[in-house]
Symmetry: C2
Subunit: 142 residues, 2 copies
Amino acid sequence: MQFSSKLAIATHILLVIAEFSEKEKVTSDVIAGSTNVNPVIIRNMLLKLQDAKIIQTKAGVGGSELTKPLNKITLKDIFYAVEEDKDLFKFHSNPNEDCPVGRNIHKLLDKRFDNAKEVMFDELSKITLDQLKFELDKLIKK
Amino acid sequence: MQFSSKLAIATHILLVIAEFSEKEKVTSDVIAGSTNVNPVIIRNMLLKLQDAKIIQTKAGVGGSELTKPLNKITLKDIFYAVEEDKDLFKFHSNPNEDCPVGRNIHKLLDKRFDNAKEVMFDELSKITLDQLKFELDKLIKK
DNA sequence: ATAGTTGTAATAAGATGAATTACAACAAAC
DNA sequence: GTTTGTTGTAATTCATCTTATTACAACTAT
């Protein structure tokens, strides 16, 4: 199993805004064209990115812009803007409380699963849009 | 999004075997009773754990046993025994190759996503069944 | 040969992701 | 103040994946 493509899509959205919003109006249709993702999905993500205070979107007139400097936006921020904060690993729902293992399996694994999740997000928090745009601009120039 | 409960179930299975297989025959029905997971699901997992050389199961007569010392079995081993090795994060499938962002989004994120996955599994590889059984036995004694 | 168990296929039910259609709400510009 | 283009939002559908379930053949000790 794996995470959905929301993080990749949202990062794509923000990079498009970072690259183009100064020169042209970046509408949900523009972003849909670059990502090949349905405009309604894009709009819903734009709403979540607004809630997270990462962008602002002009209702009516259209177009989105970043509200923070690029080095203040990390992949972790983006993930939590567009995905629910669920546990990384699910549990089976009704382990038998009459069995010593069934009674304790949650207690044994909970904090270890949480820890694994935490180190992963620590890693994602080290990656900023700044770094991504810098690398992207290098790739574009060639 | 999140991982399935396979890791939690498989770990539960192995702890049941570790605790009880010396004294009694641990069949798929016994495990199904402790986990409250369907016996067929359990049997399929037992097959995968056999493929990974973590346990052996006696066809016909029944019962499973560990084939390795507990300190040689980690949560990472268990995960890869029962889950597919997919990328942690999915991508949107057809980013627009005519857009500089769409053309490069994969290149920008691939290695960073892989790295986040790797540190998570490094963390899981530090946790052995040995540690879990030790903690479990302490909980049981109380 | 019997009995209990594993191995395995086929099917169904439930949850979630993503696409799609449709339209009201909004704001600039004419 | 009406038109135009865009966003906000609801409702529905389709596909995929997880988990449960039924059914039965294959296996092995007794």
